[in-house]
């Protein structure tokens, strides 16, 4: 188990190194950053001194080593547009994005699993068929459209929910949270639903398919022959077996939720990392883009690692084969 975890961690470090190379090379291939900082009438001497102060005249390898060592310490340089350290910009935005992503994922998992289980157990009911139809819409409609439709309905027409922003936030140390104020919670509802809808339909369809599969297995038939209650069979035996693949998908999707929150954050003007990234792209603010790339890949790699470990917690068969392999 420990060897397995260590091996997975080494692989994760390898992936992060590769991403680091890509992030660093963005600086070299996305044009001369000095031009982004200075105006047209800056003298060559001034340009050279800026270049030197940013360390852009050192050999590539030295620059990479320096970038890498800094990145490990969460120093991603200074933003070209804000003239502020990228890490503090990201840290300031991180709580907003994480809160949004976690709420969206929770919504997706709870609603997805409930709807999936229901539509597997009551396959022929009208409601189950409605869920199937709705899930098709959820999978095929693009996020920005859903967001705009929600804004139109709940913010513009009904006026129940705010159409943009995060509402009032409360500071808890460096973390800012919108979960403790009414306006913060109200502001969270629509972005979380918009962001989680795709994941919800995905999980719902997955749970439904898996559940139907599991209900056909011999051990469910044997559980029925043992006279267990329908409740124990469906929610104990069947659901637990269904959740193995759901954990993978939900875990991997959490990474995508963070990465794709760019669109939702733009639609709802949510002050998170995604919005920061979009602004950075517009202004060719490479330090932010590179740092965002690193952050998102770090989140992905961490989630993969956690999912791998979670697997072995849920499925005892993996525990022993993993143990034997190591």
């Amino acid at each position: 188990m420990l060897a397995f975890t260590l091996r997975r961690m080494l692989q994760a470090i390898g992936v992060m190194l590769a991403v680091g190379v890509i992030a660093f090379s963005m600086f070299r291939f996305a044009g001369d950053p000095v031009n982004q900082i200075v105006s047209i009438d800056t003298s060559a001497a001034e340009r050279a001194s800026i270049r030197q102060s940013l360390g852009l005249d050192d050999p590539v390898l030295v620059q990479f080593a320096r970038y890498f060592i800094d990145a490990v310490q969460f120093k991603f340089g200074v933003s070209y547009q804000f003239r502020l350290p990228v890490s503090s910009l990201l840290m300031e935005r991180l709580p907003a994005t994480l809160e949004l992503a976690i709420c969206a994922t929770l919504f997706a998992m709870v609603a997805g699993i409930l709807m999936g289980v229901y539509s597997a157990l009551r396959r022929d009911t009208v409601l189950a068929k409605l869920f199937q139809a709705v899930s098709l819409i959820g999978i095929s409609l693009p996020t920005f459209l859903i967001g705009i439709l929600l804004i139109y309905l709940f913010a513009v027409t009904l006026g129940w929910l705010p159409s943009f922003g995060r509402g009032e936030v409360v500071k808890l140390g460096w973390w800012t949270t919108g979960l403790l104020t009414v306006s913060g919670l109200k502001a969270l509802i629509m972005p979380a639903i918009t962001l989680g809808l795709f994941q919800m339909t995905l999980i719902m369809r997955l749970v439904r398919a898996e559940m139907l599969e599991v209900l056909r297995t011999d051990y469910i038939r044997f559980a029925r022959a043992r006279g267990l209650t329908t409740r124990a069979i469906h929610f104990g035996h069947a659901l637990k077996n269904t959740l193995v693949p759901v954990i993978t998908v939900a875990g991997l999707q959490f990474g995508s939720v963070i990465a794709f929150s760019i669109i939702t954050e733009t639609v709802f003007q949510w002050p998170g990392m995604g919005l920061l990234f979009v602004q950075a792209v517009q202004n060719v603010d490479i330090p932010i883009m590179a740092a965002y790339l690193l952050m998102v890949s770090l989140i992905f790699v961490t989630i993969n690692l956690v999912v791998d470990i979670l697997y072995t917690v849920v499925d005892p068969r993996l525990r022993s084969t993993v143990g034997r392999a190591s």
Binding site: Y219, R221, F222, G227, T229, H237, P316, R317
Partner: protein
């Protein structure tokens, strides 16, 4: 004669499909007494397993019991509401399935699965149920049960898993055990152990056993009586020695002739020509008539009813006294 544990009368099971209604079981009747082992043999698709599932109330739609009666110790159980038949399953009727590798939930410790079953059917506390689970595992011959109880199914061999399955089937001391091909998925040496175990449990607890199999060797070794099924009907039923040594029905003769013996002369095994008809194409009259060597006109129109012949009963016109007078 005392009341039989299981009494099945004129059972019919139908499967309603889009094209037609298929009758998988057609007028099956038999009894199993306390402590008796009834073997049910036949080819694949003869309706052996469906009969077992019908008794325990696990025929899933589109299948349904369309006629007949099933009585367990004198109480009719075939038309009970789902919740009531659920209480009987596992408590009064235990069932063992064919494949021990897939019968146990891979994600739960075997002890938890046994305790769960015990606690569903009794008022035992968690601790008492666990103690009982250990006793059960010891009874079915699992070494070091107090250690193995916390094992997961994949940590057991096929034979050991079938023992766990048997422990699960008997954990509420049922009156009847239905064993659906319990040894088919096991290798031969383990088969003998499992058969001996089922036999011993039946004897020790006075449990009636319905043993579904297509292995005549298992039947001959284990059963008191045997029912030979063909196309959803019982072709012949009787004490096992009689049916094996002196089969009456032409199909039973064919089956017994197909058993290889060590002592037997050096001759080819008898083979029954053709194969069992599909459910959608059962011929009128006796379903065996297209393959029967003794077929005559009446077999093609008239369905034979079981006729008593000594201790045996056989569904064949050859044994009908009416035929004697007619011929």
């Amino acid at each position: 004669m005392t009341q039989p544990v299981l009494s099945v009368r004129n059972l019919e099971v139908e499967f309603v499909t889009r094209r037609a209604t298929l009758r998988a079981i057609n007028g099956v009747s038999f009894d199993i007494a306390r402590g008796e082992v009834l073997g049910v043999v036949g080819e694949s698709g003869a309706g052996k397993s469906v009969t077992g599932l019908a008794v325990i109330g696990l025929i899933d739609p589109p299948g349904r019991i369309s006629a007949g009666e099933i009585e367990l110790s004198g109480t009719r159980i075939d038309h009970l509401p789902p919740e009531q038949i659920r209480r009987i399953r596992g408590k009064r009727i235990g069932m063992i399935f064919q494949d021990p590798l897939t019968s146990l939930n891979p994600l739960y410790r075997i002890g938890d699965q046994i305790v769960e079953t015990i606690r569903t059917h009794t008022n035992l506390t968690e601790t008492a149920a666990r103690k009982r689970a250990i006793d059960l595992l010891a009874e079915v011959g699992i070494p070091a049960p107090e250690k193995r109880i916390d094992g997961y199914p994949h940590e057991f061999s096929g034979g050991m898993r079938q023992r766990v399955v048997i422990a699960l089937a008997i954990c509420a001391e049922p009156e009847l055990i239905i064993a659906d091909e319990p040894t088919t998925a096991l290798d031969v040496s383990v088969q003998a152990q499992i058969i001996a175990l089922i036999k011993r449990l039946g004897r020790d607890h006075g449990t009636a056993v319905m043993l579904v199999t297509h292995d005549m060797g298992v039947i001959a070794e284990t059963c008191d009586r045997v029912a030979v099924m063909y196309s959803g009907r019982i072709a012949e039923i009787g004490p096992v020695q009689e049916v094996v040594r002196n089969p009456l029905h032409p199909y039973a003769k064919g089956l017994m002739g197909a058993i290889p013996t060590l002592a037997g002369e050096d001759k080819r095994l008898v083979q029954i020509p053709g194969s069992m008809p599909r459910l959608s194409a059962i011929p009128p009259g006796c379903p065996f008539n297209p393959r029967c060597a003794f077929v005559f006109d009446r077999c093609r129109v008239d369905r034979p009813e079981p006729i008593r012949q000594g201790t045996q009963a056989v569904a064949c016109h050859l044994f009908d006294p009416v035929k004697e007078t007619a011929a």
